[in-house]
Amino acid sequence: MADTIELRDIEVWDGNMAASHALRQVQVDVVAAYPITPSTPIVEGYAGFKANGYVDGEFVMTESEHGAMSCCIGAAAAGGRVATATSSQGFALMLETLYSASGMRLPIVLNLVNRAIGAPLNVNGDHSDMYMGRDSGWIQFGAYSPQEAYDLNFIAFKVSEDHDVRLPAIVNQDGFMTSHTAQGVHTLSDEAAFNFVGEYKPMNDMLDLDHPVTHGVQTEEDWHFEHKARQQHALMTAVIPKIEAAFDEFEKLTGRKYNIVESYSMDDAEVAVICMGTSVETAREVAEEMRANGVKAGVVGIRVFRPWPLEQIAAVLKNVKAVGLLDRSSPHGAMGALYNEVAGSLFNTDTKAVLTNYIYGLGGRDLTKAHLVSIFTELKANADAGKPTTPLQQYIGLRGPKLSFF
């Protein structure tokens, strides 16, 4: 039996330490990993817990991220609670196996510490890796702070392992800005944390030798489409209600309330920015300052990136006049993903808000409060004019001449 750790009510942890403790507290059966910056301390910390007797499960160091996720898939198919962590190029190398995990309907929790994807090589935070996993069939949660990186791990296990869901889940946190930034984290006791997620209940597990099953089968034209349709059906119908139920239960336990779409000062907002990660919190602070100067500014944070909360987004933006969509990933030949997703969410509604797209923060480039003030100011001009007064896609925080498209 693993030893417990007496945590203080508030620990000063960075996002990596918070995620590492969450994995320890839910007593994962198998963590298979190949460490990569900035996610390394998650599995390093977990290996330390294992070595010091705080974990009963197995820790497997693999030869690559492809091997790490393959090992996770094997362990999950065998019938264990499974988790890992990675970033950037490591996530890219996992990509093939991510589709296997979701297609085989295996609950696995992946802590993705968001980092730029090279070239050029860069270890700092942006959302390129998160965006790369968009269509992989994984549930994707977004944390804005170390506290949320901790909390959302519990939610992720609970939802992912639900027998009506059976889909893997990613918990995103910003590389360095969350993963290496220490802040106060309200902790759960080991017992309360474990009880929230509960004992792992296997389903179709290969180690149940009385009920033999096959995993990872081949289906051609005859059944492939039906399998993919069932996967989509689960993502589109089962997941959001289960997440909402988990959020409610978590609020009862901790008092901390999460929502599928987080909205701040949106009730009477004329202008709003929509973003993910730490930018949400910085934008909230700037929105408050804009309100003190007479601009009715609000912020929408994406808490669940996949499945995409189309109806919730449309509802929260109902009365807004101008929206800035902030993408922390190079769209490489298109409008940013948030722009496209939000435009798609609003198109068949009565909301005719002016939408503009901002690309920012690539490779860890700072998003300053001054940048956000200028964005809100432009959005106010769009709201007043009832049409875009700027190009549709602008680069923010870029050195040299301004860059914009459309």
Binding site: V12, F176, G184, T278, T282, D366
Partner: protein, 185 residues
């Protein structure tokens, strides 16, 4: 909001110092943030670390900061790093050096007219901890200059932060903190 910027070389313990300070401040009910710019993280490379302290949850995640305090824990960085970057009118500098404050300002004129304090954290660390790890003594100096916490309370709190280290090292750190508190000018 109180904001602090550390100038250090990778390996001198600025990150540990910033996190240790955050740990202590957090126990007093305030909200904290501690982070650093790593770059390629080569030992000896110039780097910066940061603290934010506030009465409410720190939501600002921008790296840009106009610091209230600048803590320099490597003497040479006064000349090779931009330690006055984004300063305010009343930014206070605490610099590790073997020189007096007057000698330091004479050697780096851009510090002239600013609130500058000096203390030899490197020497203190070498004589107490036995290694040139100037982070904890710098915190002792900060306590003196800022009057943030009573020094006995601070040492008690740091004792808890360092509790996983061998007793000998903890004791040496306590002496180093007190010496820097007494010696900063």
């Amino acid at each position: 909001m109180l904001e602090i910027r550390w100038h250090s070389r990778a390996g001198q313990g600025a990150v540990t110092g910033a996190k240790g300070l955050a740990d202590v401040v957090s126990t007093t009910g305030k909200h904290v943030q501690a982070f650093a710019f790593y770059g390629s993280a080569k030992r000896g490379a110039a780097m910066t670390a940061y603290n934010r302290v506030d009465d409410k949850v720190v939501m600002n995640h921008e790296k840009f900061m106009r610091p209230d305090y600048v803590l320099v824990i490597d003497p040479a960085l006064v000349y090779v790093a931009d330690i006055t970057a984004n300063e305010k009118d009343n930014t206070i500098y605490i610099v590790t050096t073997h020189m007096s404050t007057e000698e330091l300002i004479a050697s780096q004129p851009k510090l002239a007219g600013k609130k500058v304090y000096t203390v030899d954290c490197i020497k203190i660390a070498q004589e107490t901890i036995g290694k040139a790890i100037p982070n904890t003594p710098m915190l002792g100096a900060l306590m003196k200059v800022s009057d943030m916490y009573d020094i006995e309370f601070f040492k008690e709190s740091m004792f808890k932060v360092l509790k996983k280290l061998p007793q000998k090292i903890i004791d040496a750190n306590m002496i180093a903190i007190q010496r820097a508190y007494d010696e900063v000018k």
